[in-house]
Symmetry: C2
Subunit: 219 residues, 2 copies
């Protein structure tokens, strides 16, 4: 089936979206090696994924392959980049300049993946006015107003859990539409706000349970 623009309205499966950057990274290494084409079976072997699944994921980007040959590497890279919107960069505000906040501010690579953290906010007087990773820290009280004036639609929360809800409220007040939440709490926000939780404790729960099960099995 052909993928047309109107079809794109239907939601892309989240697992597919998560895998696309993985494909992109792998394809970039192939490109660097001078490989021109690649098959789903090859990719599946390297990435531990089912080839059919890869084929379906790639079809979402609108690119087609050729039987016996596979997909053209550079075409695929371009298709993924434009599908994920890595060309037009989203501006974002970050609130909470602790260790994690500073780490995200310093993540230069974000710029190549469609994200630009343009300003950081905190309530700590000791941090306000200072530069962190080359970005000035501003008082949280100015965030909402600035977001509205700069048309920033994405907010990143890296505060401790107890301040996260207040920050989220401020972001919503500033017209922010999507929140990337690194605080381990469930935010309460208006229906239409997109919230993506990045909860390290949840991930840790999965990992440590799997490890414990394994260590027990080894005895």
């Amino acid at each position: 089936m052909m993928i047309t623009d109107s079809d794109q309205a239907r939601p892309i499966p989240e697992p597919t979206l998560r895998r696309l950057p993985t494909y992109h990274h792998f394809l970039k290494t192939l490109e660097a090696e001078g490989r021109e084409a690649v098959s789903c079976s090859t990719m599946g072997r390297e990435l531990n994924l089912d080839p059919t699944q890869i084929r379906k994921d790639l079809a979402m980007t609108g690119i087609t392959g050729r039987p016996k040959i596979g997909y053209v590497v550079t075409d695929l890279i371009g298709a993924i980049e434009s599908f994920l919107g890595w060309n037009d960069i989203q501006q974002a505000f970050l609130a909470g300049v602790g260790n994690l906040g500073a780490a995200l501010l310093g993540y230069q690579q974000f710029n190549r993946y469609g994200l630009d953290i343009v300003a950081a906010f905190d309530t700590d007087e000791a941090k306000i006015g200072r530069q962190v990773q080359g970005k000035e820290v501003m008082p949280l009280s100015k965030m909402a107003d600035l977001a509205r004036r700069m048309h920033v639609h994405l907010g990143i929360i890296t505060t401790p859990a107890e301040h996260a809800q207040y920050v989220a409220d401020q972001m919503v007040a500033g017209g922010i539409e999507a929140i990337w939440n690194f605080a381990p709490i469930v935010l309460s926000t208006p229906e239409h706000i997109i919230v993506q939780d990045e909860d390290l404790f949840s991930s840790l729960a999965v990992l440590s349970r799997r490890l414990r099960t394994r260590l027990q099995a080894m005895q």
Copy 2:
């Protein structure tokens, strides 16, 4: 159906494991307020989850509720903690003391969630020997040997993508069984090694696509 010890052998659904820390956090706030019991409907309303789903998740921990009353808050907290193994703490090594590595080293809260990062490793001479977040940075060349001698089974990779595979190999050589991988690449490891990927670029892909779809719909 009763959950017995032998049943625990069957794998717990990953989504369930991910939600348990969320319940725990919410229950802790209820406990602080002095609430003695809570129903799944109440929790579902606060956490935006289906009550039946919560009921099934909680059943995994072995705790039972009482019709009309609900669950005893403190019992539930204890059951989740022991189910997730937050009492016996896993020791871990971290490799790659950049911004993100330093942030994880400084995450005091990990200690309450069953994780203790006991040492950090890097290849950068400027970092080796220095303390970061109160933990000494040691040369990566010593990691494998130390892991084996200290019986450390969990490794955390926070290096740039290009060094992650080498670090993973070293961890495997040191007898590490599980890897928490923050580098955005697919590691190639022996079959039995547990790898959990924490790929921020994948998460970002999901979030920025959702946001873009929404901004387009708003026009």
